[in-house]
Symmetry: C2
Subunit: 306 residues, 2 copies
């Protein structure tokens, strides 16, 4: 049997990463390329599980690393530090992503499609249309779930008209009420009771380094910030451990209220002055009104202050 | 007036770089984005001039560098060391390319379309088709010229079925005999009499560094290798100057016979042992039969031996 091309998104997978991996496999197969297999690099969160349960499919298989020369297609990320261990020596034959390009290189020409949209699945939706490939209910719901998740039901400032259009069309194809389904999906993702504090600060954490300053910005979504803050002491203890273990200068945990579009941040480390250039921290915390997007709001705020 | 978005290809522009810049401007304008302007980073070579004269248009304006924050679209390259001076601080909003991705990064999400085809213009051709935008004679000839140039009339091993299909369709639209036009175009590019030896070794030179070894692979096309070798002594003197000036470890000049698909290489520097792992040099030279592509043949040979 010919070796499969593995399709995967980033570590700490979110709904876009998991759903876009699966949909990219479906799209490739419908396009005649059957030798592909979606996999994942970490646990499926509750929001994503809700979407998978809704369409009745299993999560992709978990992998730990990729072997040298393994053919791969990356979705929803490109930076090697967010990718599978061993990615430096894999053969990257394609990328579909909506992030900046950084910490990424190949030795050979490849397929790379990036668009500055709110969600990878929106790019995949356009690929279906451009190739004239039919979108069935299953993949429509998966792509809609990814867009709802990444754009917080089109409320995030990362949302583009392309995401709006795609979500509308996908809702029609899936025959679902997008607002009703979307709120259920997002709420499913905010059930944090089963997670330890360590899991909470790692479930959607992006690490980066700018001008020698090592940062992590983590995010959890909730419908009640006070509920999460009941665990503040333990969360801070875990953040401090992470800082020590990884030699970080700054760890920002954003607790995002998806109904009211605000984020409470907890910032720790020896470079919290970076945050305080924008907002005063009290008791290591600040409320950022209207801030829901790490990529468009938190990351630029931190990077511009370094 | 709103600031124009500049579209340009790599330094030492070739026919794909110049024609794809112009065609990307035409495509953008036909797609309703009129605020774009093709420019170039260096002199137009004789092959490219032949194509421009054939359609009766001027070369894009020459620029020396880009200012901080300048919005740009890159075609036919992505590596910063092949791009405009100042590119690190420009705002890259799009890339259309057919090379590996390397020495490239952005701070923001962007449009990036790469496909492992023989020519950038083939990707642009597909963009016209996907967007349902009419291809007129002028842009058909420009794209055909780029494909003929990059694939040496579909003979180079970089050629894909996509390039073949595009060139066939473009020939029909342009109402030209592709083989007849193609040979005229390629021959126009092999008239090297007007160029100094220094110009010859720089006209299509790609610089790169692997494992600390600094290399240049330059290429000139000809219909008579012996004609070019009449200037061997002066060519070697210029190569030696380039090595000293830029602290290079290896300079390979490939003199490519486009009719018979062979390349005579001249290799100089303190690391010619890299070349000699593949082929014995005599009098600093070797004939590589069937070798016409820097990207697919020469570059891998050199990199794999480092």
């Amino acid at each position: 049997m010919e070796e499969k091309i593995l399709i995967f998104g980033h570590k700490n997978p979110d709904t876009d990463t998991i759903c876009s991996s699966i949909v990219k496999q479906i799209l490739s197969e419908k396009d005649g390329k059957t030798n592909v297999k979606a996999v994942r690099l970490g646990n499926v969160n509750k929001e994503t599980q809700f979407a998978l349960d809704y369409v009745g499919i299993d999560a992709p298989d978990l992998i730990e690393k990729v072997e040298e020369g393994q053919k791969v297609i990356l979705v929803d990320h490109n930076e090697f530090n967010q990718s599978a261990d061993g990615i430096e020596n894999a053969k990257i034959i394609g990328v579909v992503d909506h992030h900046r390009i950084c910490n990424f290189q190949t030795t050979d020409p490849l397929y790379y499609t990036a668009k500055p949209y709110g969600c990878t699945a929106t790019i995949l939706y356009q690929d279906f249309i451009a190739k004239g490939i039919e979108i069935e209910k299953k993949e429509a719901i998966l792509m809609a779930s990814a867009i709802i998740s990444d754009t917080l039901l089109l409320k995030s400032p990362t949302t583009t008209k392309h995401d709006e259009k795609a979500l509308g069309e996908l809702g029609r194809i899936a025959e679902i009420d997008i607002n009703k389904y979307g709120l259920e999906l997002l709420k499913a993702g905010t059930d944090l009771d089963d997670f330890s504090e360590k899991e909470l600060i790692n479930m959607d954490a992006k690490k980066f380094e700018t001008k020698g300053v090592k940062c992590v910005i983590a995010q959890v979504n909730t419908v009640s910030i006070p509920d999460v803050l009941k665990r503040k002491e333990k969360l801070e203890a875990e953040i401090k451990s992470a800082i020590t273990e990884s030699g970080l200068n700054l760890f920002v945990l954003a607790i995002t209220d998806i109904l009211n579009s605000n984020s409470q941040i907890i910032a720790l480390g020896d470079r919290t002055d970076i945050i305080e250039k924008s907002v005063k921290l009290e008791d290591n915390m600040a409320l950022l009104e209207g801030v829901v997007s790490r990529k468009k709001q938190l990351l630029p705020m931190v990077e511009n202050n370094i």
